[in-house]
């Protein structure tokens, strides 16, 4: 793409670009230098401040009580969200007004309310006491939110299946439900798979909000480590951030791989047009927009 927006540079331009390159590199080095100087000044490289993250019991806490719980919450949320999205996405496409209208309302509501607000409410209203606890409060809040986003994705996915498919299915005598379940949805799901994984990244990032309602997960473990080692704040959150980024990059790479595998080079689904998709607290943006 780069070659479309600008000409192959001539000697003069190349000189200018070299200047820009140099300026950028110098600026980046200066920023890095400034940061390192600060870190040294405040003694942030001291072994004692990093020691918790080299101690087996804390590594275990971070990986087992942290990462594993985070992954569990995110994957459960996405599995439920797919069901939710399927029901309400198809509901929104229904020919019956009594089905279409409530589906639309529900999807709109959960997309417009901040997921944190939702989480806090679900936890206190239904999570405590005989309720299901903070883990499930996070899962359900993320289900409702991501499910509403996925409802739109499903709709767009079904609409992206070439109309000839449905026409041919009707022509051989299939009924409406059959057309949807046998012909349209299977093809739509294939188109949407990368977008689904991207949404998993979104859910994974949002599980961090669970720390507000004492749900387990990486952020929660990070919080309790920083309470214990107040000197190790920078180290704690650096480690936590690196893990989040690493896991999300792996998921994104998986999405890209799946996209190539299942859909080929063709760009699958332009999810940028779906409100709330890119947006969201978004990780992946969608199959098309993966970095």
């Amino acid at each position: 793409m780069t070659s479309i927006l600008f000409d192959a540079p001539g000697p003069k331009t190349r000189g200018r670009h070299r200047l820009y390159t140099l300026a950028t590199v110098v600026m980046l080095l200066a920023l890095a230098g400034l940061l390192v100087a600060r870190l040294v000044e405040f003694d942030q490289f001291a072994y004692a401040k990093w020691e918790p993250f080299l101690t087996p019991s804390y590594i275990e806490a971070i990986l087992v009580d942290g990462l594993l719980e985070t992954l569990k919450m995110a994957s459960l949320a996405i599995v439920f969200a797919v069901v939710f999205g399927l029901v309400f996405g198809v509901g929104k496409m229904s020919e019956h007004r009594w089905l279409r209208w409530p589906s639309w309302l529900i999807v709109e509501f959960f997309r417009a309310v901040p997921v944190l607000l939702l989480m806090i409410f679900i936890y206190f209203a239904y999570g405590v006491g005989d309720g299901f606890g903070s883990f499930w409060a996070v899962v359900f809040a993320l289900t409702l939110y991501n499910g509403s986003v996925l409802a739109e994705v499903f709709r767009a996915g079904v609409n992206a299946v070439p109309p000839g498919q449905a026409e041919a299915a009707y022509a051989i005598g299939m009924r409406k439900t059959q057309v949807m379940t046998i012909v349209l949805l299977p093809q739509a799901v294939k188109i949407m798979l990368p977008a689904l994984i991207s949404q998993l990244v979104v859910a994974l990032k949002d599980t961090s909000l669970g720390a507000y309602v004492v749900a387990p997960g990486l952020t929660f473990v990070g919080g309790s480590i920083q309470d214990e080692f107040r000197e190790s704040r920078l180290q704690t959150w650096t480690v936590v951030a690196v893990i989040y980024i690493g896991v999300n990059l792996l998921l994104t790479a998986l999405a890209t791989w799946l996209q190539h595998r299942l859909v080929g080079e063709k760009s699958p689904l332009d999810t940028t047009a779906i409100p709330g998709m890119q947006s969201t607290n978004t990780g992946g943006g969608a199959g098309g927009g993966i970095v």
């Binding site: 793409m1 780069t2 990093w50 020691e51 918790p52 993250f53 080299l54 101690t55 087996p56 019991s57 804390y58 590594i59 275990e60 806490a61 971070i62 009580d65 936890y123 206190f124 405590v128 006491g129 005989d130 309720g131 720390a211 507000y212 309602v213 004492v214 473990v221 919080g223 309790s224 480590i225 920083q226 309470d227 214990e228 080692f229 107040r230 704040r233 480690v239 690196v242 893990i243 980024i245 690493g246 990059l249 792996l250 994104t252 790479a253 890209t256 993966i290 970095v291």
Partner: protein
Amino acid sequence: MRSNKIRKTPVLGAALLLASLGLAACGDAGSSSSEDAPDVEVAEDAAAEFEDGTKMKELAESGEITIGVKYDQPGIGFKSATADMPEGFDPEMGKILAASLGIAAEDITWKETISDNREPFLQEGEVDLVLASYSITDERRAIVGQAGPYYVTGQQLLVAADSDIETLDDVKGTEVCSVTGSTSLENIEKEGATPRGFDTYSECVDQVANGTVDAMTTDGAILLGYAAEDPDNLKVVVEPFSEERYGVGYSKDAPEMCQWINDTIEASYEDGTWEDAFAATLGEAGVDAPEQPELDPCEA
């Protein structure tokens, strides 16, 4: 156009970092301070002492109890990411109460409570008792039972050692940190300060230490613990401007628990376990041992 190069580098970097973490896992952080927790003598055959149909009988027979405590207040109720059990004055008192039912410390199920889930926890039976810096108030007593108090403290201010704040009037127009949604934060807002709510107390302490906010406010017991950790830079000022009487929360469905809780606390005053519990927790953090507070009588 897809920037494959850009993507791969951080993945590789992250993987390497994780791997190196695993390989170099030889640190030894976090000393276990639970060793000096006092031993509490567990009552034998406790179930026989309670009348049939009481909650105490039920608990003693089951041999299990669930207690809600704080996990983020060093000295009062704190649990390390790697520890199995919380530490602090509240959990110690919980152990004393459990012991009188014949339940050993290792058979207690601890649950983390935060400020705004304590009443629902009790009402819905998620926990049997709450010992979580749980101030006795009329509003709370309208919906849950609160026995005690077993400790009395009051809202104070933690400021930098060189701070100009000396009286409560001085907070007007300043920024004061506490935990989001807490009563302390509401109180200080009424005094004319700008409330700055954070998620945990330790974050607030740092905000005071590095000068981001002017003061931090909550119960004196919590503040004194932090000031004792760093006496060169932090101090506690202002006479307590509220009275926080820590009580033991129980469900209104089991009013008979009140008398048992009071009796057990009274007994711990007499046999010295209350003092031991205090000395091993808040005492360690530099808080002077207070008078043993007088218990509220239970309603018949």
